[in-house]
């Protein structure tokens, strides 16, 4: 067990920092410090391509597919330096962190050749079509239908909460391909191009006034017969495999974003005197400790050699970070007081901390609510009996 980085790793850190800081001071100065996922989307697509041009877009991937085969330590370092340099979040994180690894694990050689270069190059932006109006926590209840017709899949139905669909090129969709099937059986995982007459995207305005999420409607939408990942009817296994990648190295980049947010709260508390309040001090300390433990928990998870099984410890990660961030949002508002409830501009737009307060209410819902997480932890992590199911 060791936490220190080697001299080679530290050299790699300098290389990352130098390049990222150079970009944020130069050509991409205009996107530095953006914290929402939607602002300046077009420039951020160009940033994806800039990352790719310098082989920084997917460093954990195999070299064959445009990655660097980076070690865990290198991926940790890149994630840390990326956030430290004030670089905004990746608009193609779903492509790089979810679609890519899913293709590498479940895709055919032909599919890898078709999709991976575009993702690596920052040309193909992906979004995720899982949830539906009646399949949220109960994801296996998806109803969006897919049928094979004349060498094509024809898809009808509706997805919801499709983050960044409005700026994406492709969507992967969990569909019900077997008529009359129920639950996790009879599902198929499809890759679909968004720019077609059968797909319509409508933004959903959220409680913070932003519209990162969308409704996605499929009306005789089409994709070629070989667009499925895995076999027909095997979509649940592929979807669950994909969700496991959410607990991967990307969590460390996410944490560095949290670091920036906590630093803002600390700075605000120092600036307005809230840092003198002993109760606020306790909560700041708890937030700091929670963030550090998130980091070391993730490193523990990622250092484990047996990645094939999601062990109990890894199951605790989602509820941990989501609850932590929601608490941070509440702490931020207690630190700011009433000034936190007033925006300087005429529009309903919020600076980092009030926006964190509002947005973080989604954290404990998307990707599996805290309540679903507790079921998963208790059932898979601790072997408790499964929830009784009603008729499906």
């Amino acid at each position: 067990m060791k936490l220190g980085f080697s001299a080679a790793d530290e050299a790699f850190r300098r290389e990352c920092a130098e390049w990222l800081n150079g970009q944020m001071a130069g050509e991409f100065k205009d996107i530095k410090g953006i914290t929402t996922l939607t602002e300046k989307a077009e420039r951020r697509k160009e940033w994806e391509q800039q990352l790719a041009a310098h082989k920084w877009s997917c460093i954990g991937w195999p070299e064959q597919w445009g990655g660097r085969n980076a070690t865990l330590a290198q991926q940790v370092i890149f994630a840390e330096e990326y956030a430290r340099a004030g670089v905004p979040g990746r608009v193609n994180h779903i492509g790089v962190e979810l679609a890519g690894p899913t293709l590498l694990t479940f895709g055919t050689e032909e599919q890898k050749k078709r999709f991976l270069p575009g993702i690596a190059a920052g040309q193909t932006i992906f979004c995720q079509g899982f949830s539906e109006p009646n399949a949220g926590s109960d994801l296996a209840s998806v109803r969006t239908k897919a049928r094979l017709e004349g060498g094509e899949w024809v898809v009808n139905g509706q997805k919801i909460w499709t983050s960044l669909a409005h700026i994406s090129d492709w969507i992967f969709v969990v569909t019900r391909s077997e008529e009359g099937s129920k639950g996790p059986k009879g599902l198929t995982f499809l890759m679909m191009e968004i720019d077609q007459p059968g797909i319509e995207i409508r933004p959903i305005k959220q409680i913070n006034g932003d519209a990162e999420f969308n409704e996605t409607f499929f009306t005789d939408a089409r994709c070629p017969a070989d667009s499925l990942i895995g076999a027909i009817g095997d979509g649940w296994r592929v979807a669950m495999g994909l969700l496991a990648f959410e607990r991967g190295v990307s969590t460390l980049g996410q944490q560095m974003g949290f670091r920036n947010e906590l630093d803002e709260v600390i700075a605000a508390a120092k600036a307005n005197g809230a840092a003198q309040d002993p109760l606020i001090r306790q909560r700041l300390a708890k937030a700091e400790i929670g963030l550090r433990l998130m980091r070391y928990g993730a490193l523990r998870m990622l250092s484990a050699t047996d990645h094939s099984k999601i062990d109990g410890a890894a199951l605790t990660y989602k509820i941990q970070w989501a609850s932590w961030r929601r608490s941070l949002g509440e702490l931020a508002m207690d630190v700011l007081g009433q000034p936190g409830e007033v925006s300087e501009g005429a529009d309903y737009e919020w600076s980092v901390l009030p926006n964190l307060f509002l947005y973080s209410r989604a954290d404990t819902i998307y990707g599996g609510t805290n309540q679903i997480q507790r079921n998963l932890i208790a059932e898979r992590g601790l072997g408790m009996p499964r929830e009784p199911r009603g008729d499906i």
Binding site: M1, G4, I266, A269, P278, R281, I289, A313, T316, G383
Partner: protein, 351 residues
Amino acid sequence: MEFVFTDEQVMIGETAKTFFAENATSERTRKAMAADGVDHDLWTSFCTELGLAGVGLPEAAGGAGLGMIEFAIVAEAAGAQVAALPLLGLATVGQALAAGGSDAQASAWLPRLISGEVVAAIAGSHNLQANGNMLTGTAHFVAHGAVAGLFLVASEAGAWLVDAGAAGLTVTPQTTMDQTRPYARLTLANVAGEPLADPVAAMAAARAGGWICVAAEALGGAQATLDRTVAYAKDRVQFGRAIGSFQAYKHRLADMMVDIEQARSAVYWAACAVDEGSDEAALALHAAKSFAADTYFRCAGDMIQLHGGIGFTWEHDAHLFFKRARAIQSMLGAGNWHREEVAKMILGEAA
């Protein structure tokens, strides 16, 4: 960077776990609780047969080498059984001697501590008067003080070794809620102390050793409360169902696990940071002590609640965990104090 146990560390953990599970039984612990709070036979075999008492102490002084990570692994296993052992004295006084004792002090005492011949205890005093090296004052809440042969008496002014048989020293055992680690009160009336060669280094090492020891014990204890409650939840049937099938019940188990996994990260981050001399060591120690102690207490309280009436009985072991957890929360700095130290660091107020 590789935050995972080495094969050797895994082996130490398995050895320690097996040893404590087989030997630190409820029956033996309760016998110790009714007497002086130490299972002396267990301590002797831990020190001599198993040879784990020297973990984290230098080989030159008869220790086993290795570091605080390995020590934490052992303390975690001991904590899982609420073993009635004077491990904390070893962690504090042993580390102090190794880091701040003269060669003569280390070679005089460490081999005897490691062999189990002498039990050590740390005694902090707020009113100690030192006339040269003649000490007068009191020290409260000295863990396992009544069985100690050697005290490390510490105050703002310095740190001294005091032999339990020294003239002018009175040791008064106290009836203590946690009977597996009873306290004693020390009264010193012009007692001869032997100053440690480097009291600053000694006390820094004693604090780190003590915090890691109780945090690791807390981690082991918290995991044990969860494991035992999980077993009960599968076994106990009400309303025609295993009680673990009820969401109100299993969500509470899940919350325990979420906290325990964070406590595990905290303990091994702190131990690793100390071993590597990292800049983060101070923050990590405060985090580990406060977080692991609170986790343990919450889990032990949940264990009682989730067992229902049987969990409230003397016969059931839940109260052993509960009382140990409560004691760990208060000892060596309460949670709020540790968090205030963290607050000073992150607000840039640290001295």
